[in-house]
Symmetry: C2
Subunit: 241 residues, 2 copies
């Protein structure tokens, strides 16, 4: 073994220890303790720079990812300049699970919104893990059931809710997912284009709606930060009536 290889080996060790404690993620927390060493031996930590793709729509599925550091957006493209953002993933989230159906091709693109470290498990090992850990399979089934409910709720919103309602919903989702700091601003810095792409509208329309909400004293905006002032008013906008 070259001294180079040894060096690389220790660097990876350090990263692994830093990134994954084999306890907290969706996978490790639901596995039989006896199986954890197998996971430790099979996981790979991978680093991505801002803007890099973790995987792309149409690409063959390699495995499943667990996000340890950074934020990732998961989106579907349309044409060559439109997209619908399905999810903003944060530390602890699972990524790539949409590729586990019959079609072994990713139906979405995942791109790093900042420096990202993921823990990667390839499909053959993940499937073996599911065969052995029944409680994990059951949890994953429940997880999918919940995601399906959310997706169909959003389908209906895209079909019938007006843009202002979807903007309100986007803001409330961000608040619920990322929390807010002491100044009352949501803890995530997104471009307005990305927020618009989540709401299923254009940048311009999103901007105008945000202006209206600001004028009505429902939200406050400062650069990339958005703060909710009147939750009830936002909830009223998304009310199904």
């Amino acid at each position: 073994m070259h001294s180079d290889s040894v060096l690389i080996y220790f660097v990876l060790m350090k990263k692994n220890n830093h990134a994954c404690d084999l306890k907290s993620c969706f996978l490790c927390s639901r596995c039989l303790p006896e199986w954890l060493p197998a996971i430790g031996a099979n996981k790979k930590n991978i680093h991505f720079k801002k803007g890099e793709l973790i995987f792309e729509e149409g690409e063959a599925v390699g495995g499943i990812y667990f996000l340890f550091k950074g934020k990732i957006k998961v989106h579907k493209r349309w044409g060559n300049d439109k997209q619908l953002i399905l999810h903003f993933a944060k530390e602890g989230d699972m990524i790539g699970y949409r590729g586990l159906g019959n079609e072994r091709v990713y139906p979405v693109t995942a791109s790093a919104m900042e420096e990202v470290i993921v823990c990667f498990i390839d499909t053959p090992f993940f499937e073996a893990t599911l065969q052995v850990n029944h409680q994990l399979t059951y949890s994953l089934m429940q997880f999918y059931a919940n995601e399906l409910q959310k997706a169909e709720q959003r389908m209906r919103n895209l079909a019938h809710m007006d843009v202002k309602g979807r903007v309100a919903e986007t803001i409330l989702m961000l608040k619920a997912n990322f929390g807010q700091n002491k100044e009352g601003f949501i803890n995530i810095a997104l471009t307005k284009q990305d927020m618009a792409s989540y709401a299923g509208t254009t940048y311009e329309t999103f901007f105008r709606m945000l202006n209206e909400l600001t004028e009505d004293g429902i939200v406050k905006v400062s650069g990339k930060s958005i703060g909710v002032l009147k939750v009830a008013a936002l909830e009223k906008l998304i009310a199904n009536l």
Copy 2:
């Protein structure tokens, strides 16, 4: 035991035998053979008339249904006169599986489109079944993964595809799901309002789009029957470019 009860008992027996052979449905075909008698003892056959609700959005989840006869539409309401149809279920389909997430409330309404017979399994027994039949749990997980992919695909279509494309998609979905008869018409009679509600548009717009497709010789319409003349032309309309 009253003679009335005896009568009812035999009627139910007969119905059961007619409706369910404990072999072909999603549930029975994936269970351990040893478990089938338990299913036989716990399933209930229920009859619905046209227009009756199998369950309704917001109602507490009772269990899961397997459709043996008839057709059911699964939809989400908006306001009090709009809806988005998520699925047209036919013989063999599973219904009510959306209620299996954390929220134990149906997120959708299921209504009988004609005379319907379903086989009902209550949640406690279904969960026991999942705990015992790991392969079934795994299959169900895969099933959900596929449904999620389809839902997110449609989400993107509702956000970015034009109505004509969604009409084309609706027609191709119906053809793929229900097949066509010798005359080349799709084997399902739906109101245009229902087709429009699936495509996420209004009756009037759906009607106009269908007219355009007819004028261009892409489809043929005769009463409630629609026939596809040029598949490629429909596929081109839904092409993502």
